[in-house]
């Protein structure tokens, strides 16, 4: 069976389309939690967040942010929820990455509160050390920041001073983190 969103992208009459460009679509689905719920989807088929390239994710996020700002005024929403269900186990219904923007009002009958799940101290510590280790390995948008820096270098001279200053900061930070990480792994050696 074909992906429901891909079908919408192919046959435009399947849903109301608010916006469309080369990479993404903003649509109004008929099966939603509340009228006014707006969905942002990339045009290309990606099942989950992890598969979406940075540039397309950036675009979808900016669109979702604009949608969020638009519903405050136009639908007189008192708040918005932003939701990405990532994976079948997370309640994702269509196997196509999507950002849902849900306009909210007092007493609209929706409840997003989750039951708190108290954890034992050792469980927290276990998760903390596990994730901390993985978190230290994360490098965000390596290529993009490089190209951005190059762009900035080409732009005005006035800005140059600022940029080199910030670049220096990151370098120092990276060094610090690198030291910590090395020290830690040194300690781990038996």
């Amino acid at each position: 069976m074909k992906c429901e969103y891909c079908e919408i992208i192919e046959r435009k009459d399947k849903a109301q389309i608010l916006y469309e460009d080369n990479d993404a679509l903003i649509i109004l689905k008929d099966l939603v939690a509340i009228p006014g719920q707006i969905t942002v989807i990339p045009k290309q088929h990606f099942t989950i967040l992890e598969m979406v390239p940075d540039s397309i994710l950036n675009k979808c996020v900016v669109l979702a942010q604009k949608v969020g700002a638009a519903v405050f005024d136009s639908l007189s929403a008192e708040g918005t929820n932003l939701l990405i269900q990532n994976g079948l186990g997370a309640g994702q219904k269509v196997p196509h990455f999507a950002i849902e923007v849900i306009p909210r009002r007092d007493g609209d009958g929706l409840n997003f509160q989750w039951p708190p799940k108290p954890l034992a101290e050792d469980e927290i510590d276990f998760v903390y050390t596990l994730l901390k280790e993985e978190g230290e390995k994360i490098v965000i948008g390596k290529d993009e920041s490089k190209s951005e820096q190059e762009k900035n270098k080409n732009s005005k001279k006035e800005e140059k001073g600022v940029i080199t200053a910030t670049a220096g900061e990151t370098e120092i930070k990276l060094k610090k983190e690198g030291d910590n990480y090395l020290l830690k792994s040194l300690k781990r050696v038996p």
Binding site: A33, V61, A69, S74, G79, Q85, A90, E123
Partner: protein, 295 residues
């Protein structure tokens, strides 16, 4: 700088109203400072309140939620104080989601879960409890009952109503030009050429706009200025500056011509963005009011 009383819950109704009035009159910078001072998450970011930090970079901090929906529930905090998502600059919000993508991958890999949910609440009505924007990243397992959305089918006429209400505002924010607007833009310049005057030389076969390099090269004694009707009657042909293909500029090579054309295009592109940022500021002002509800 103004300081808030230590215990807000002990205020009388009168004092509370007085305080609200004071907050309303406060300049935005001072209000922001006050919000930051009161914000528990800003104190976590500055290190005054301890937390279990998973990831940190220049613009955001990720910590373990102390009241988690599941094991490994993470909070992504932008380091500067923003109450709600529309206030966050594009660059930072993009970065925040790239971090969430990387961390979602970490959760899926290391916690053996079925999926992740990324969730944000903007405003009290949306269930926001803290006054600092937070992006929740929740590891999920089938049937855990976290954030299950009850879905229903919405009739087409309501969907169309929503579309009608949102579309124009959204186009405004996205800098998309309405088709109707484009027509209006085209119609406007049309009556203008009637009033326009053209320059030509008594001996020349072509006529030019005043700014055209050819027109400026015509010696003063031979220069003739005609109205549109007179030009038509004269039987002279229009220069490319009149037909709109290209305006020949004085003493400029072709390469230079290209460079002068480019900025013109850029300005066209920038226009919608400029309006966008203006609108953002306007929206930000009203959204600040919403943010103020948390006081």
């Amino acid at each position: 700088m103004a300081k808030l009383p230590a215990d807000l819950s002990k205020l009388t109704e009168e004092q509370r109203l007085e305080l609200e009035e004071k907050l309303k009159k406060m300049p935005p910078e001072e209000l922001k400072q006050l919000q930051e001072q009161q914000c528990i998450f800003c104190q976590i970011i500055s290190g005054k309140v301890p937390s279990k930090q998973i990831y940190e970079d220049k613009s955001c901090l990720v910590i373990l939620d102390i009241n988690p929906a599941a094991k490994g529930h993470l909070l992504l905090l932008p380091k500067p104080h923003y109450a709600i998502m529309p206030q966050i600059p594009e660059k930072e919000i993009k970065h925040l989601f790239l971090v969430s993508k990387a961390l979602s991958q970490v959760l899926l890999k290391s916690l053996n879960v079925d999926g992740t949910t990324i969730f944000a609440a903007n405003g009290l009505a949306a269930g926001q409890r803290a006054q600092h924007f937070i992006l929740h990243l929740i590891p999920r397992k089938s049937g855990d009952g976290v954030l299950d959305l009850p879905e229903r089918i919405i009739p087409q006429d309501i969907i169309e109503k929503v579309k009608g209400a949102v579309e124009s505002k959204l186009n405004e924010l996205l800098g998309v030009r309405n088709e109707n607007m484009a027509v209006a833009v085209q119609e406007e310049p049309l009556p203008k050429p009637k009033e326009e005057k053209f320059t030509t030389s008594s001996a020349a076969k072509r006529y030019h706009k005043e700014k055209c390099a050819f027109a400026q090269n015509i010696p003063e004694d031979k220069k003739v200025i005609l109205t549109k009707e007179e030009v038509m009657a004269s039987g002279k042909e229009p220069c490319t500056c009149v037909t709109g293909k290209r305006i020949p500029l004085k003493n400029k090579s072709k390469a230079k011509l290209n460079t002068t054309e480019e900025p013109a295009k850029k300005i066209e592109l920038k226009k919608p963005i400029e309006t966008k940022s203006k609108i953002k500021k306007e929206a930000g002002a009203s959204l600040d009011d919403i943010a103020g509800l948390f006081k």
